[in-house]
């Protein structure tokens, strides 16, 4: 049995970890989602480089995002391993598939970790910022002060 060699998930610990990490991921996802889409892009609907830097310059968010990355990869790829155990029965193909999953785990784990840890420092006003484009359909109301600059007459 390939499973006995310890390269494929199996047994009680994995079973337990899949459930616990799944629960943790839901909590992390709700935080991630709430922060990204209700706090960070507040109003303008777009997450920009500076928005992300503002958040990730804080070590707390680096720890949160790193644990999110590791848990998501571990949880997801364990699921892929379980699918491999269910559908691939030939020993050679199975070893190949398990090897590919391990390589993906290492490559994407390192890729994501480098992204989070090697971020450039946030300097306000230095990065290019997207500006809202009105696409012809969205007609701003005449009293929309955010769109029409207020011109005080007589000055």
């Amino acid at each position: 049995m390939l499973r006995e060699k310890g390269f494929e998930p199996g047994g009680q610990f994995i079973w337990f970890f899949h459930r616990v990490s799944g629960f943790a991921l839901v909590i992390l996802l709700i935080l991630h989602f709430a922060y990204l889409h209700f706090t960070m892009d507040a109003g303008d609907g777009l997450v920009t480089f500076n928005d992300v830097m503002n958040r990730l310059s804080h070590p707390f968010f680096k720890v949160i995002d790193l644990s999110f990355l590791v848990l998501a990869l571990a949880h997801g790829l364990m699921g892929v391993m379980l699918s491999i155990q269910d559908y691939i029965t030939r020993r050679g193909w199975r070893m190949l598939a398990v090897g590919v999953v391990w390589i993906l785990a290492i490559v994407f784990g390192i890729w994501g970790t480098t992204t989070i840890l090697t971020l450039k420092p946030f300097v306000p006003g230095t990065a290019p910022e997207p500006v809202r484009k009105v696409t012809g359909l969205v007609q701003p109301a005449e009293d929309d002060e955010a769109f029409w600059p207020i011109v005080e007459e007589g000055r």
């Binding site: 459930r19 799944g22 629960f23 839901v26 996802l29 303008d44 609907g45 777009l46 997450v47 920009t48 480089f49 500076n50 992300v52 990355l69 998501a72 990869l73 997801g76 790829l77 699921g79 892929v80 699918s83 993906l104 994407f108 890729w111 994501g112 480098t114 992204t115 090697t118 971020l119 450039k120 990065a127 290019p128 910022e129 997207p130 500006v131 809202r132 484009k133 696409t135 012809g136 359909l137 969205v138």
Partner: protein
């Protein structure tokens, strides 16, 4: 031979398919976020994600996440609290809760999709990157 698709079997298939889809999304997400190394390129990418087709894809992703998360909650309830006799009730409960959350997401994500369809600009970003521009 025909499988008898009942709630449990259906939930298993949905969980597996959505799980594998989410792994693919996770890879794409890690790749796209790695563009943070180049601010201008990251902002261009984010502007691209504001187009109508991407909003529609985001709604699909939202549905996949809801299905996987709620069915995961059902699995935890069955495994840890011995709710296996109530698994069918839990399944329908998850469907109802999932629909409510999905409708909330659709209310926010569909208007830009309809805008894109009406204007025929499905790929056009609703934002434009202006180098050095203000916010």
């Amino acid at each position: 031979m025909r499988y008898r698709i009942r709630t449990g079997a259906l939930a298993f298939i949905v969980h597996r398919v959505t799980g594998l889809a989410l792994v693919l999304y996770l890879f794409l997400h890690i790749m796209s976020v790695s563009r943070l190394g180049d601010p201008a390129s990251f902002n261009e990418e984010m502007a691209m994600y504001s187009s109508a087709l991407f909003k529609l894809a985001e709604l699909g992703l939202f549905a996949v996440v809801i299905a996987h998360a709620l069915n995961g909650a059902r699995i935890i309830a069955v495994d840890f609290w011995g709710a296996s006799r109530k698994q069918a009730v839990l399944f329908y409960g998850a469907v109802v809760i999932g629909l409510v959350i999905f409708i909330y997401g659709a209310v926010h994500l569909l208007p830009p999709v309809f805008d894109g369809i009406r204007s025929g600009m499905l790929f056009a970003p609703s934002y434009e990157v202006i180098p050095g521009g203000g916010h």
